[in-house]
Symmetry: C2
Subunit: 420 residues, 2 copies
C-alpha cells in the first residue's frame, strides 16, 4: 500500500497502524538478511509506537504511515551513526525537525536506514533489491532499497550531489529532491550546507507530494490538476554524451510517447558555460565538507575510509577559498539566468542516471549528471519508468523551476501515467 | 591583550597560554557575579587544557588564545543548553565545526557564554558591563559582555537578525557578521537557516580578521592595505527616522570626520522598495524557526517563554508557505539588485543600533534596523566609536558587498583609527 492508501485505510477504520507496521516488519524480517537496508529496526519498539498511534486517535495527514529515516538524521529514541564507526552508538537527545514533523503528522518511525559513510560515496552493506549483486546507489541507499522492496512506503533521504535521485533510479522508486532551502535540516548531519537538502523516497507521486507538505510543516494540498498537457523540454546538456547510448534512446523514446499523449515537447539547451557548474559543485561541496568534519579529521582520521580521504576530503582540505567563493558566484549567476530561460516550459526531461545500477558494491559515482541540477537548487523528481539492458530500472528525471515543486508534481503525475 | 598580541607573545616565549588563561579566569572570578556572561566555565578544566596547549608546542594561528563560545554551539567537553531549561545538561558528543577549527588553530576554549533562549529575544542573566542596570543586548549577550569586560579576547556569537551587531554595539566591542553562507554552522543550533551566520566579538579589527580566517579553515592573511582612502557612503535608508536623534547626529558627524581624514564620503539610498525586506525577514525567520523547533513545540511547549511563544513562534506556527516563498524571492531579488548598485563605494556607514543599551533586562528588540542587512546577506562590522547621552557605547556599522569581507576589514581598520 502507498502512504496515501494507508492514511485513507486507517481513517476509514479498515486497517490500523499496528497492522501496517506488522506487515512492514514481516517484509523486513523476510528480506533484510539479503537487502540490508536498515541500520536500526526494533520490532517491539515499532509495534509499541504503532499501538500508541492507534490509541491516540490521531487524525494527522500521515496517521498510521510507517516511514524510514536515513541514519544521518537525529532521532531521540534510536541511534544515529552517520554510516561511520566513529559515531557508533551515538544517541541524540531530540528528533530532527523532519522526524518531529513526521511524527506530529501521525507517522510511525519504523527505523533508521543505511547511509553511505557521512552520506558520501563509501558504501554501506545495502544491496539492490532488484539484483542483490548490484549496488543500490548512494548515499540514501537504505531509504531507496527499503521503499523499493516494500519494507516501508516512505523514507527520508538527503541529497548533496545525487544522493536521492541516484539510489531512486537504481532501485526503481520515485525519488524527489525539493527546491533547495525550503525544508529545515535541523538535526540532519550537514555535508555541504550550500547544497544539502532533504530527499523523499516513495512509490507514488501522491505520496511524495503529501510527504513534502508534511515536512514543510504545512497543511497538505492535493496535486493541482493541469489545465492542459504540460510543456516538457528534453534537456541534453553538455553531459549528454556521457549517458549510456541505451539511456539516451530511452529518454528520446519517452519524449516521443509524451508528445503522442498530448504534451508539448521541445528541446532545451543549457547555455554552454553552464558546464562550469560541475567544477563549481566540486569545489563548493569539498571545501564545505572538509570544514564541517574538522572534528572527525582531527580526532578520527584513521577511521575515515580511503574513498573519502582520497576523494572529497582531499579536494577540500587543500581547498582554495577564492576558488570556493568564485564557485558560489558562478552557481548563483547560473541560477538567476536559468530563471529567465524557462519561458512556458513546465519541466525539463533528462535521465536520472547514466544507466542502470552497476554490478558490485564499489563507491559509485556518476557525479557529473547530479552536480548540475543540485547546484542549480531546482526541484527534481525521478520516475521509475525505464529498464536497462540487464532489466534493471532507470529513472526519467523531471526538473522544474525553483519553488515550482507543486507544478513539478502535477507534470510528474501526468507523465508517469503515460510512461508506466 | 588582543588575540593577535597573545599569539605573538606566546610564539616569542614572552607568555604562555596558561598565564593568559589564568588572567582571564581571574577577571571572570572578580566580575562574573555581577556580569553573568558565562553559562559554563570550569577553571581547572581550562587550566589543564591551556597547559596541554603549551606543552604541545602548537604553532597555529590562534595558539594560546582563550575564546568563549555562545551556548548554542556544540562542545564535546562542556554542556550546550541553548539558553533553555528544556536542554538543561545537554552534552554533545563532538565539537561544532567552528569550535574544532578554533582548537585546531591552537585556541583555548575557555567556556560557554550566555545566550538568550534559543538565540531569540527572551533574555538570559547577563548584564551590560558598562552599566549593570542595563541590557547587554542579545542574543549573543554573554559573548559580547565577556569580550567587553576583558574576560576573553575573542568570542563566537551568531546572528539571525541582530544577535551579534546589537550586543556588540551595546557592550562597546567590535562585532562582525560575515557574508552569509561562508562559515560552516555544523553543530550550531539552527534558528533560521536562510539567515543564520556565525558572528565574532573582539576588541580589534585585526583579531576579527584573524579569527574569520581561522573559522573558514584557511591560512590567515593580514588585512590588505588600502591604496587610497576608502569611498564610504552614508546609508540612511527607510528606517533613518527610527534612530534616536542623537544617534543620527553621531553618524553624520562621523561622516564629516572621515571626509576630513581623506575618505571619499557620499550618500547612498537603498531603493524605496527595499523596505519590503523588513517583512520578508519577519516571515522567513518565523516560518523557519517554528519548523526547526517542532520537537520542542510538541514536547515542551510549557517550558518555552511567553516572549517566544507570543513572538516569533506565533508568527511562525501559523506562517503561510506562499508568503514564505514570496519573501525568499524578494530577498534574493534585492540581493542581486544591490550587487549592481555599489559602483565604486567600498562600504556603507550606518548606525549599529537605534541608540544606547536601554535600562532593564526586558527582551530588547530594535529589529527593523538589523533585519535589513542580515537578510541582504552582506558582511557587517560594528566599531565602538560613539557614546550616547548616558555615556553608553553605540557602534558605527560598516557594511560591504557580499564576499567582500576582506575589503570591509581594510576600511574598518582605516575608519576605526580615524574615529577612535
Amino acid at each position: 500500500m502507498t502512504a496515501t492508501e494507508i492514511v485513507a485505510g486507517v481513517r476509514a477504520g479498515k486497517t490500523t497502524c499496528e497492522a501496517v507496521t506488522r506487515a512492514c516488519l514481516e517484509r523486513i524480517s523476510a528480506r533484510e538478511k539479503e537487502v540490508q537496508a536498515w541500520a536500526y529496526v526494533n520490532a517491539d519498539q515499532a509495534i509499541a509506537a504503532a499501538r500508541a498511534i492507534d490509541k491516540s486517535g490521531s487524525k494527522g495527514p500521515l496517521t498510521g504511515v510507517p516511514f524510514g529515516v536515513k541514519d544521518i538524521v537525529d532521532t531521540e529514541d534510536m541511534p544515529t551513526e552517520w554510516g561511520t564507526p566513529i559515531h557508533k552508538g551515538r544517541q541524540p537527545e531530540r528528533d530532527a525537525a523532519c522526524v518531529a514533523l513526521s511524527r506530529r503528522a501521525g507517522g510511525l518511525l519504523l527505523g533508521k536506514t543505511v547511509t553511505t559513510e557521512f552520506a558520501n560515496l563509501h558504501p554501506g552493506p545495502t544491496r539492490n533489491p532488484h539484483d542483490l549483486s548490484r549496488t543500490p546507489g548512494g548515499s540514501s541507499s537504505g531509504s531507496a532499497a527499503a521503499v523499493a522492496d516494500f519494507m516501508a512506503p516512505l523514507a527520508i533521504g538527503t541529497q548533496t550531489t545525487g544522493s536521492t535521485i541516484r539510489p531512486a533510479s537504481f532501485c526503481g522508486v520515485i525519488g524527489y529532491r525539493p527546491t533547495w532551502g525550503e525544508h529545515r535540516l535541523h538535526g540532519v548531519m550537514e555535508a555541504s550546507g550550500s547544497l544539502d537538502s532533504l530527499g523523499i523516497l516513495a512509490r507514488s507521486v501522491e505520496d511524495v507530494a503529501l510527504y513534502r507538505d508534511v515536512l514543510l510543516g504545512i497543511a497538505p494540498e492535493p496535486i493541482p490538476t493541469l489545465d492542459r498537457p504540460p510543456h516538457i523540454a528534453v534537456c541534453k546538456s553538455h553531459i549528454w554524451d556521457r549517458f549510456e547510448p541505451n539511456t539516451r534512446t530511452l529518454v528520446e523514446d519517452a519524449a516521443l510517447r509524451l508528445a503522442r499523449a498530448g504534451a508539448h515537447v521541445s528541446e532545451f539547451d543549457l547555455p554552454a558555460d553552464f558546464e562550469r557548474l560541475n567544477e563549481a559543485h566540486r569545489w563548493i561541496s569539498s571545501f564545505e565538507f572538509a570544514r564541517t568534519f574538522t572534528w572527525e579529521i582531527e580526532h578520527h582520521w584513521d577511521e575515515i575510509s580511503d574513498t573519502l580521504r582520497g576523494g572529497r576530503l582531499k579536494d577540500g582540505i587543500g581547498g582554495d577559498f577564492d576558488r570556493y567563493v568564485a564557485s558560489k558566484r558562478i552557481a548563483e549567476e547560473c541560477r538567476i539566468r536559468l530563471d529567465d530561460l524557462w519561458g512556458d516550459i513546465d519541466v525539463l526531461l533528462t535521465p536520472a542516471a547514466f544507466g542502470e545500477a552497476p554490478a558490485g558494491f564499489q563507491a559509485f559515482d556518476g557525479v557529473p549528471m547530479f552536480q548540475l541540477w543540485t547546484i542549480l537548487h531546482v526541484p527534481a523528481i525521478t520516475l521509475p519508468v525505464f529498464r536497462g539492458p540487464a532489466g534493471m530500472p532507470i529513472g526519467a528525471q523531471l526538473v522544474a523551476r525553483r519553488h515550482d515543486d507543486r507544478n513539478l508534481f502535477a507534470c510528474a503525475q501526468w507523465a508517469y501515467r503515460k510512461l508506466m
